[in-house]
Symmetry: C2
Subunit: 162 residues, 2 copies
DNA sequence: AATGATGCGTTATGAGATAACATAACGAGT
DNA sequence: ACTCGTTATGTTATCTCATAACGCATCATT
């Protein structure tokens, strides 16, 4: 993303979780895993924690660098495997046009995710579009659509004001 | 894309141009460049030709490998620069979720592009989403949307039939 | 305990894209 | 035709992003 050097706004509409709020989010994730016989193992939990703590979309290698509690990086497969798991369970999403990852900010687990991405400050906000009717009409010639990647670019409210 | 090994269908809804049809397309591109003071230089023209000849989305390094007339590959920046130019002028599009490139299959130059991608045969069909306004409404909390990346996955008509 | 399935640690490599700098081609003005 | 600013290309090196492959550890089931 080519964010001009003239952006004076704060990064991250989502401030990132910390303290008890973060702990609660992790406990909730534990519960949701337990309910489906999935295991929130240490590396998976750690990567989810890093995503939840973050202010905005995180690159895989940022997560790799931040993985260790005392500054030691993880090996790439450790983080990529965790991300694959978190995506599969709906705890995280990959933003294709950024090569970056965000924690899910919505409640539902099997939901379709879409994003608006601020070209100024880099914030990415998740929303759930009601595709079905729109896309069925828009898609051409008999394609049977099963999933959708929708990533919109623009300016967040703060960056419009500035 | 994870296309199962059980797909027996032909790749590419768009068969790829050749002969006089290809030549015509390149002449048209020349004209459109001339009309806006842009230069369709040799490497740009060559990359556009490779895209137009192709049956489906092309990876950058496929284009790099195929660039030379006698099998010599191009250097990566040569092709990436050409792709940047072709995208800027609307002659080609990048499909984010594939890391691949396609020639524009629609007429307008400044149009919004969207794709349906067959998970079985890999075909990618371009269409022009007409719901910009609806999207603006669907987007959350005051974001001003300026561009949209929309890539839908599913099955093309041929692969549904099989 | 033996078995099978899943997940992790590690090494190495593959795939995708760009930075940086020098040279070459163009094109407007003289 | 010459000069100069601009745009594009050639080249080298490097950077970012992601996965293959293998062996070991862990867990649940028998
Ligand atoms: Zn979500
Ligand atoms: Zn912003
Ligand atoms: Zn197009
Ligand atoms: Zn198909």
């Amino acid at each position: 993303m080519d964010m001009g050097a003239d952006c004076h706004h704060e990064d991250g509409v989502h401030p990132g979780l910390a303290g008890p709020v973060l702990a609660d989010a992790l406990v909730l994730a534990e519960r949701r895993c337990a309910a489906t016989q999935e295991r929130l193992t240490a590396p998976r939990r750690r990567v989810l924690e890093l995503l939840l703590e973050s202010d905005g979309p995180q690159k895989a290698y940022d997560l790799i660098a931040a993985f260790g509690a005392h500054g030691e990086p993880a090996k790439p497969p450790t983080v990529y495997r965790a991300l694959e798991f978190l995506e599969r369970l709906g705890f995280a999403h990959r933003i294709e046009s950024l090569n970056a990852y965000v924690p899910c900010r919505l409640d539902g687990q099997g939901h379709r995710a879409a994003f608006v991405i601020c070209e100024c400050c880099g914030a990415a906000e998740e929303f759930e579009p009601d595709f079905a009717t729109q896309l069925a009409a828009a898609a051409p010639s008999g394609y049977a659509v099963r999933s959708v990647t929708l990533e919109a670019r623009g300016l967040c409210p703060a960056c419009q004001a500035g």
